[in-house]
Symmetry: C2
Subunit: 225 residues, 2 copies
């Protein structure tokens, strides 16, 4: 009683199909790029097998063939794209000039570079928002690369601060968390607590507050020892 039938024959009439590239690597790259543009344009909520296939202009079965499924595709995207800022971007170019700065300035400089680097990376912000909802290969990659970055950063300039009595880790935790939250909220909010988190003007206020906080707190710890 099952109504199965192949109606492939009557489709042979209209052959107005676009001729595909028939190039495996190009198709793969196209799919991966589709993930990026979809993420930037529509957000992670719109990211699914069907949407990616449509965005890339290919059949979704190719995603299964070339990647295996969504998790593997996300992993491939995470490996291909430089969605996370580089360490030199945090340090602000060359590390020598940074290390020559007074201790009090290094941390706020890195934090401000962090905020600026984030603000110009909508895809990264999107993945951070995704992290609030569920874990997947991409948010895993984000977490991995972020922790890795923190460790390397600490190795570079962490030794300078261990004699302080201020809980520097707690302070930087607060400030980086604040930057993350404000960057995330700027996706859907213009003004947060009287601060315009979508304008450079507002972010200047934030940057100055960061600088001031670090200066005040680190002064107390260095002027003491």
């Amino acid at each position: 009683m099952t109504t199965k039938m192949k109606k492939r024959s009557n489709n042979a009439a209209h052959t107005d199909k676009v001729v595909r590239s028939r190039d495996r690597v190009a198709t793969r790259e196209g799919i991966i790029r589709a993930v990026g543009s979809l993420l930037a344009r529509e957000g992670f909520m719109a990211l699914g097998i069907n949407a990616v296939a449509k965005e890339a202009g290919i059949d979704k079965v190719l995603i299964y063939r070339y990647f295996g499924g969504m998790p593997e595709l996300l992993r491939a995207f995470g490996e291909s794209e430089e969605f996370w800022p580089s360490i030199s971007e945090f340090l602000g170019g060359d590390i020598e000039t940074l290390l020559s700065m007074p201790v009090v300035e290094i941390i706020p400089t890195v934090l401000i570079n962090f905020s600026r680097a984030l603000r110009r990376r909508p895809v990264t912000i999107e993945i951070m928002a995704w992290e609030m909802v569920e874990q997947n290969e991409l948010t895993e990659e984000l977490r991995r690369v972020r922790e890795d970055m923190a460790i390397r950063l600490f190795k570079e300039l962490g030794a300078k601060f261990d004699d302080a009595d201020a809980d520097i880790a707690a302070i930087t935790t607060l400030l980086s968390a604040a930057v993350s939250y404000l960057v995330l909220r700027s996706r859907d909010t213009q003004v947060y607590n009287t601060v315009d988190i979508r304008s450079d003007k507002g972010w200047e206020r934030i940057e100055e507050a960061i600088t001031m906080i670090c200066r005040q707190c680190l002064i107390s710890s260095t002027s003491k020892g």
Copy 2:
């Protein structure tokens, strides 16, 4: 060719159905309570018409009949529940003792009360996470009540700070954003930047850092005038 048929007749045999309350307001309340427990137990991702109906143990059509749909149900939940902390909870009981404190202590006290109030409200945290993903009647209510709270809070104790040269609004923005982010991340993360954001121990570090930051920065602005 449409295969429509009513097979209602053959269901008349087994009448092992539970007798329902047949009490409109009780059913309404049950549905609203189902939203709350579902939100707390499964998170906002699991919140849908079908899930709420199953959780409440009723037919989903009643949700449409009694509320109209999901938006109206969310609005009803938002109005029924005290998901957001009260202003006295922020102020820490009576406002008199708070206002008698030194100026430098008031802000960190309110911020710490804010973090503690949030931490014991998983449903509120869930709605805050939801806010990162989409806007709906509930997140609208959250935003409304939060901004209202900020205004009232500022009215209560804002006049004390306007002569300071420090951008107090920016600083409190940073700190409250930091608290929000850390509370949110504690849903899925144990340790964030070496701080255990799931233990009271970790939150003591955060509270002390908040206190220190406020003290240092407000000292500078008050010891100057």
